[in-house]
């Protein structure tokens, strides 16, 4: 009986284990993701967002759709359990909160600007900037996971790490943003379609 337990424990540990990548493996992943980001002109995807706060019994789950068009048009739209869309366009955020329209000029807000830059880059997965992040590479089955730890003191005050999971093609499956308190936001992408034509009208509020 005890050996069964130990075996079970061992299996569950090895299922969850992620091993560190070798330097050539990490280099190969980086090239693959950068290549993928270069050839990606549009992304349309569904997403599920899990907001984890340690003091809650359950994560807050919301769902919606993402549209991305090069170079930097992003529409992030929640459909459940509330209706809310935000479009990132040039230096401006266009918000549609259940029909209530609003815009925020990010040019005047460095924090917003940085955050949005990070969001766009994390959608593409291309955050391999050694100056901005301390980066470590892991693999698990056929998936890769990269940890990005911000070096800048200001951003590390509200984000201690990004964990991005890629599939074997170098596509982003999951983005997890971890706060210094341990609370996190996890976004899981599903039904992702690349390079499907997207009209500019999608990105107007």
């Amino acid at each position: 009986m005890r050996s069964v337990l130990i075996l079970l424990l061992f299996i569950s540990v090895s299922v969850h284990a992620q091993t560190k990548m070798s330097a050539p493996e990490a280099e190969a992943l980086k090239t693959l993701v950068k290549q993928q980001a270069l050839t990606t002109k549009t992304i349309s995807s569904n997403f599920t967002q899990y907001k984890h706060l340690d003091f809650l019994s359950n994560d807050i789950v919301s769902k919606g759709k993402l549209a991305f068009k090069t170079p930097d048009l992003v529409k992030w739209e929640y459909t459940e359990p509330f209706i809310y869309a935000v479009i990132f366009k040039n230096e401006t955020l266009f918000i549609n909160d259940e029909g209530k329209k609003n815009q925020v000029n990010m040019g005047s807000n460095k924090l917003f600007k940085e955050l949005n830059g990070l969001i766009i880059n994390s959608i593409k997965g291309d955050m391999f900037d050694d100056e901005a992040f301390e980066i470590s590479y892991f693999k698990k089955d056929k998936y890769s996971r990269v940890h990005f730890i911000p070096k800048d003191k200001k951003s590390s005050k509200f984000i201690s790490a990004f964990h991005i999971t890629f599939n074997e093609k170098g596509d982003v499956l999951e983005v997890k943003m971890i706060e210094p308190s341990g609370d996190f936001t996890k976004i899981v992408f599903t039904n992702k379609e690349l390079n499907k034509p997207l009209a500019d009208a999608i990105f107007t509020n």
Partner: protein, 203 residues
Amino acid sequence: MRFLLISLCFFVVSCGSYPEKQNFLTENSTSQEIENLYFSDPSIDYVYKASIDVYDRNFSGLLIIKKLTDKEHRVAFTTEMGNKMFDFSFTEDNFQVNFILDELNKKMLINILKKDFKVLILENPLISNSYSKENNQVFETLIYNKKHYYFTENNQLNQVIKTKNGKEKVQFLFSEINNHLANQIEIKHQNIKLKIKLKSITQ
């Protein structure tokens, strides 16, 4: 002389308590109790979509409230995309800021939020006076040394008014109430341009 009488009259009228001005009659029994159960179930993660109008700006996000123990509530606010704006702890007599974005870290703002949220989560305010009119009752209590009036209709809490010198300062409206869950909450400030609208998305 007549002028003096009129002004005395006026003085007496204006000195009447807030509910008396609303034609409520004083009740003599002060043993009455009032409960605010809208954030009282520790098994529920209370989540509200929030829209905040402050002066000419509008902000939105999620207001998250959790009762942790009999004496402690957590109140946090995030953007829709999950970025935390602030995170407060309320215990019986204490208030603590666990986190707040530098941009929001202003003493005056924290004070306003603290006082507003305290009203939302306080379950058993100590009643000093009560008034009634038809099916409506009003209970007077002190929160942070300011008079607050709790309005109930058929024993359901639907409004709290915070007053200063007998004048309405902040109005808290609870509506679409279902099993002790207020699906709509509005907090309207009279002396500053601040309105907080909350819509429950509790899962």
